[in-house]
């Protein structure tokens, strides 16, 4: 059966660690051995629409299943680690590394060593795309704090969108936090990467380490969480988000990446998403404790459980997708609780139907029942603002700027990247203001259309101005 295929490209240290953990998880979900790529039940094909994320040579059930994965790093250690711990799962030609690293410098990943590795990477991308029945989407997992994930991530997304403008590209971007930081230049790298994510990616899903650190600490009761703990949280969310692309059937219809984007991106410039996962039961307890459906939905929309350091309930939801797993019988209950929750949410009046619901029968690995929230919420501006604030502190004194200037960037460019981030923040602020407008204006008769936007007190930038801005 032909299905939409998704290619997962991971870049840099964090990106590849997350990808390794993601592939291990979904191998288990599909019944594929994560060391050999063989089906765990011999002679029968893996569970679900395995071909959405895996390819296979030939038609027989005897061959092994190969992740549609490309992993890239400018230094060798993480890729070597993946090679030594994943047996023969991955196609070795798709595991690409160099020796020098990017030195925590966006400019090296974007123009220096990054440009040199680009042709090899693009040839692997082309190879994977050619193998697809249809490119359902390309998911890029990268962190924006380091040099490779930010710089090469930006370069690769630009190159892919230039060569394959039709393929939907979702960037899953891990934002840095001082608590788990390894690079002091993170604010620079992140702001520079944001410019590309804003202009070229179809959507960008933010995983904010600042929030994830708190979640691991408070919900998972870990004294001082490590990067591995945070990556585990991200893996749970990614497995949930992709579940409806990987398992679909008669009643549980596929939600492709493109379909998610149709629902989540109301205007091209407003494409920065956040997510939440429930239940946040510590992994070692999930076998013994189960959260009720209503509590899970409450938890999803709780300011304290979103994977971004902000308070979505204080901002505005532009659009929302909730994806259930493993709760087919409870779906009516879940729908009812969600409808009740919806009443309490700060929604945007000009998007009256902003709910997409998806459901998959197949449970995840660690929880029998779980759900993921994907939200386009204006509070993302607060997260971006935090990064920009840190950027400004450094840039005020031009601290560490020489590293970028030495690699060929100029001050003008840096200032324009910073301005681009500010425009993005402003877009979300405009969306937030406009969303609060009273509904009464539009409750006129249906035969005469009201031009609500024209009548309003015009803010400095209006929603209409956002349309072509990107």
């Amino acid at each position: 059966m032909k299905v939409n295929n998704t290619i997962v490209i991971s870049i840099g240290q964090a990106g590849n660690q997350i990808a390794a953990s993601f592939w291990k998880t979904i191998c288990q979900e599909h019944g594929i051995d994560p060391m050999s790529g063989m089906a765990t039940t011999q002679g029968t094909p893996p569970r679900g629409n395995w071909s959405s994320f895996f390819s296979q040579l030939g038609e027989s059930n005897s061959g092994s299943y190969v992740p549609r994965a490309i992993m890239i790093d400018l230094e060798p250690s993480v890729i070597d680690n993946v090679k030594s711990t994943s047996g023969s799962l991955f196609n070795p030609a798709n595991l690409i590394s160099r020796t020098e690293g990017a030195g925590g410098n966006f400019a090296v990943g974007y123009s220096g060593a990054g440009r040199e590795v680009l042709p090899e990477v693009m040839s692997r991308v082309t190879y994977e795309i050619d193998k697809c029945d249809n490119v359902g989407g390309i998911i890029i997992i990268h962190a924006t704090g380091g040099g490779t994930g930010s710089g090469f991530g930006a370069l690769l997304i630009e190159s892919i969108k230039e060569k394959y403008p039709e393929a939907p590209v979702l960037s899953c971007a891990v934002l840095p936090s001082p608590q788990v930081s390894s690079v002091v230049t993170e604010p620079y790298n992140t702001v520079f990467a944001l410019n590309s994510l804003r202009r070229t990616a179809d959507a960008c899903l933010i995983f904010d380490n600042e929030a994830l650190f708190e979640l691991a600490h408070r919900k998972w009761n870990i004294e001082s969480p490590t990067v591995d703990d945070l990556n585990l949280l991200i893996t749970e969310a990614l497995a949930g988000i992709t579940a409806s692309m990987r398992f679909s059937g008669f009643l549980t219809v596929e939600i492709s990446l493109r379909e998610l984007l149709t629902n989540l991106v109301p205007q091209p410039s407003l494409h920065f998403l956040m997510c939440a996962f429930a239940p946040l039961t510590p992994p070692d307890r999930s076998k013994f404790e189960e959260m009720g459906i209503e509590d899970m939905i409450k938890s999803l929309f709780d300011n304290g459980s979103v994977f971004a350091a902000c308070s979505p309930m204080e901002g505005r939801f532009l659009s929302t997708a909730v994806l259930y797993r493993g709760i087919m019988e409870d779906k009516p209950l879940a729908d009812a609780s969600l409808a009740a929750m919806r009443e309490k949410l700060p929604l945007t009046y000009w998007i009256p139907t902003a709910f997409k619901i998806g459901y998959v029968e197949q449970s995840g690995i660690s929880h029998r029942k779980s759900m993921v929230l994907l939200a386009n919420n204006t509070e993302i501006a607060r997260v971006l603002d935090r990064i920009c604030h840190n950027f400004d502190k450094l840039w005020q004194r031009k601290a560490f700027a020489n590293w970028y200037l030495n690699e060929g960037m100029n001050e003008e460019q840096i200032v324009s990247f910073r301005a681009s981030a500010q425009e993005l923040i402003q877009s979300y602020q405009v969306a937030e203001e406009s969303g609060a407008k009273a509904k009464t204006q539009d409750e006129g008769t249906t035969s005469t259309r009201t031009h609500a936007v024209d009548d309003r007190r015009a803010p400095s930038v209006s929603l209409r101005d956002l349309v072509d801005r990107r």
Partner: protein
Amino acid sequence: MREILSIHVGQCGNQIADRFWRLILREHGLTDQGTPKDGSSAASNANMEVFFHKIRDGKYIPRAVLVDLEPGVIARIESGDMSQLFDESSIVRKIPGAANNWARGYNVEGERVIDQVMNVIDNAVEKTKGLQGFLLTHSIGGGSGSGLGSLILERLRQAYPKKKIFTFSVAPSPVISDSAVEPYNAILTLQRILDHADGAVLLDNEALFRIAKAKLNRSPNYMDLNHIIALIMSSVTASLRFPGKLNTDLSEFVTNLVPFPGNHFFTASFAPMRAPGQEGQVRSNFPDLSRETFSQDNFTAAIDWQQGVYLAASALFRGDVKQKEVDENMASIRKGLNFASYMPAAGGLKIGVAETAPEGFASSGLALVNHTGIAAVFERLVTQFDIMFDNHAYTHWYEAAGVSRDMMAASRDAIANLAKSYRDAS
């Protein structure tokens, strides 16, 4: 002969197909594979040719075309109990789906598959002797059923201008929305139904859910909802398949139900609603059955009953119902319905009886009505459309797939006018 070709488009359309054909097979005494069951009586008095095409070995093949841009639902039908039923050449399944976007279903993906779809339809039509028309099942809020469904409607009308086209269209519910862009998809599709179909039965998941919940004493799932749709479709078409006097072909439906051109949007009700397996246990007396059939709670669209009036209504009672009982109760049923003042005292309501009840039922009732309160459905969608459209929400997805804002606005105005024409008819 008077054959009818059913066209099922999109996930929802094909899920309905799955329930619908199961029911039809049983009513005609056929197995899930389309072969006659032994000692079957239903098959003998029915006009099998309407819905089935008989092949040499005595097997009956549904006159159905299954189309989807995502293979999941059809694949499940093909691998289930009815795996041998459908003609493989009448199935079109493609990827990658329309992504909830009418414009992708209509333009981008639609253009890729429409020639093949029309080919399959033409081939199916060639197997008929006197085709009377088409039934289309789809949802109007998603992408494939709405967008590709619209394109198929346009092409059908072009290729078969004289044939009747009926749609069973699942409309977005006022409470549960399946996607953020439903209002756009629905308005764009409704305009094509307005322009190219002869009749449309609007079905709303919210109403179906409410009906199912009240009758089943448990939380209904999508199968239950689709089962109700299948029961309605089976009864709407029963007069075409079994001997009777009323609405024996699709043209008669249109004549009886559509007083003004364009006002061809109906809502339906089925009674008695019972949990599967319990249908036969209660034999309703006729006054109860007719009361339940015309009960406002029982209709499948969010009708504004307060402001609106009946323009026309058809009812079909099946099974253990005597014509005499119908005649005796006719006047009181008519009195209970709030007809438009300009309808003659005896006009507007048509009631028929058919011997064969749906499988498992002793008797059943179906009402198919044209009520001006359906304007509320259109008005709600237009209001949602306007709020989003005026703020440029989501329109970039449509423009990127070749549907301009002007084109969207034109559809919106057509449906606003439709709502107004219904209000004016009150």
